[in-house]
């Protein structure tokens, strides 16, 4: 099963959103 390709930065997400139609999903997590 493939995993979700989460982008690592807001800047990359904003750039990709400008180039397409999808909105950004931001997931803030705590790994502990």
């Amino acid at each position: 099963m493939s995993e979700i390709a989460w982008l690592p930065s807001l800047d990359e997400a904003l750039q990709k959103a400008h180039a397409g139609q999808r909105l950004i999903l931001m997931d803030v997590f705590n790994p502990t």
Partner: protein
């Protein structure tokens, strides 16, 4: 884990550009401060300029996460005045996840988006009548009784 589940992954990849941020990494603090981050899980739907269009906190199991995500994107589309797209997403929630926690809210806003698109009060009243029948105890049924 919620994300490996197929309905969740499918909804995230179809509807969004997913971006993850670890709140223990110092370098992420400027973004966390920008969005007034408080608690995880912290999920936001953002516009292409970074404007927050919807947010929610807290863990949800897969059966609730997928409809919540679809409803979240529907709310974002509604705020962008993309009424037909919003309505289609609310209706997807109702069709695929009729017993989800977010279903009553989706029914409420399906009526709102239909009304915004058509300017016909009948569209709003029809959706809200269905809401009263399907979710009589919901806070959204209370909210429609203005």
């Amino acid at each position: 884990m919620t994300y490996p589940e197929v309905p969740v992954r499918e909804a995230i990849e179809r509807l969004t550009i997913p971006f993850q941020l670890d709140n223990t990494v110092e370098a992420n603090q400027p973004v966390l401060d920008r969005y007034r981050h408080v608690w995880t899980p912290d999920l936001r739907v953002l516009d292409a300029d970074g404007t927050e269009l919807y947010r929610w906190n807290g863990y949800l199991p897969p059966a609730e996460f997928a409809p919540q995500l679809i409803a979240a994107v529907a709310h974002a589309r509604l705020r962008r005045k993309e009424y037909d797209k919003a309505k289609a997403l609310y209706e997807e929630v109702l069709r695929r996840f009729p017993t989800a926690l977010v279903a009553a809210e989706a029914q409420y806003y399906a009526g709102v988006s239909a009304y915004r698109a058509s300017h016909s009060a009948n569209d709003l009243l029809h959706a809200w009548h269905d809401l009263e029948k399907s979710h009589p105890e919901s806070e959204w049924t209370v909210k429609q009784n203005f």
